[in-house]
Amino acid sequence: MSITQKDIAKLSKLAKININDKDKELVIKKLDGILELINAMQMVDTKSIEPMSHALDISQPLREDTQTEFSNKDRYLELGPDSNEDYFIVPRVIE
């Protein structure tokens, strides 16, 4: 199976990464190589096998559902490319 121009447009949109037209061929070629590598998995019959989602095969511990204090707000806001008082500024999203 090979990645198409249509696939790459969809992936670019989903991953929110712009891909220039001039780079598309090369991106497709390299992605195809990787897909060929991972398709070796398809030879294995895994019908009766449970998926393993945790490296130690244990379930995720849960913490108490309590509020935690956060006191370092100003330093975090300063990191934003654009911020004002308690907000990060982004381009207008509602007309």
Binding site: I3, D7, I8, K10, L11, S12, L14, A15, K16, I17, N18, I19, N20, V27, K30, L31, G33, I34, L35, E36, L37, I38, N39, A40, M41, Q42, V44, T46, I49, E50, P51, M52, S53, H54, A55, L56, D57, Q60, P61, R63, N72, R75, Y76, L79, G80, P81, D82, F88, V90, P91, R92, V93
Partner: protein, 484 residues
Amino acid sequence: MKNHLTLKQLQNGLQNKDYSSVELTNYYIDQINKYNNSVNAFITVDYEKSLAQAKLADEQLKLNKSSDLTGIPIAQKDIFCADGWRTTCGSKMLDNFISPYDSKVVELFNQSGAINLGKTNMDEFAMGSSNETSFYGNVKNPWNLDCVPGGSSGGSAAAVSSGMAPAATATDTGGSIRQPASLCGLTGLKPTYGLVSRYGMIAFASSLDQAGPIAKTSEDCAMMLNVMAGHDHRDSTSIKRDKLNYLDNLNDSIKGKTIGIPKEFFNSDLDEDVKKVLDRVIDEYKLLGVNFKEISLENSHLSIPVYYVIAPAEASSNLSRYDGVRYGYRASDYQDIENMYLKTREEGFGDEVKRRILVGTYVLSAGYYDAYYLKAQKIRRLIATDFKKSFSECDLILAPSSPSTAFKIGEKKEDPVSMYMQDMYTISTNLAGLPAISAPAGFINNMPIGFQLIGNYFSESTILNFVHEYQKQTGWHQEYPEVR
């Protein structure tokens, strides 16, 4: 002062007042000034901060309030957030990011009185096996400056190998501690998944990422792990266990123990020179009374395909946070918010990172989830089960650390699949969550290469014991390059 002292020797030197922490820190600063231009192992140094820590350490040492690493400079991989330090993860995306908090690992080193010597270069977001994907230029192998140091912890390995740092922190998602340790002639330990907190360690593939040390000896790795290991409530995958002293069992006898030899790793695909080196490791362990037994890891050939589904899938999710809104890079020219995301991520990420995000997005996208991600998780269980069975037959498993010695800079850069093969002997342990070490095994054409020992869950003490016994009998770990 002598070059290439171990942590143990430095601890003794500080306790005996042969030198102060300030003098020691200044010594390593001199080494960095001398060698970093040619090796490029550090992205950020802040001598003022390091020396301020050293002054405090000297006070602790005077008051005899010190712990093993008090006053010793340690290099930190630039994946660990450190309060007030620029923390880039090797990416343009975080070029301007000054961390507002400490990762758990950095916090623990600070508490131990160790000095943060600086932040080491790495493949961008830890995605790479050669350090060539770093936004800050490739690191060079101190043994041969035309060669790669391995990756992704190549800066950490090159810093220690060249004598710019006595030890360094590192992380291993598919081999990123063990492969550079092998290629730079060092000892590097990837602990059991969950032993070291991932809090503040910039995420790549969260079900695989694990922090560990790169150092000169097994004993030094034990000293580092004594600081790094421990439960942390801020990492929900961190395991609650009693804290061990990894120095306690270093000198235990290994006579009568068994090392398994996986036939799938010692087949005709194994490079002949690497095999010769490993045969010598086997002979040396036999002299120590260790038995060898052939075992089978029959699904190990599926590790790379499975990894290149699971790791990019998790990365595509983890790296969605880099959107140009709250921190890091934002494109300067955009029309609307959608366009800002698209351009920020196009310009802020390098090619390999973008490639892995796209692969991860593909395997998780509608219609493909079962065929890729779910399938990979199922085979991951088969791989883990092979190890489980094997550990009923042996104490540890011997494997190559890397398929070859360090390759030339640029040699594999344009062919991602051939680069991915670098991790063919290391990836299966990440998928299973097991601990493994790489330690120096000798040289091929004057370039170092390591051997790998893989252990059962939480068997770090046994692994360190086996390598310490080996290093008492051999001198490969005491060979250092002359950087020109």
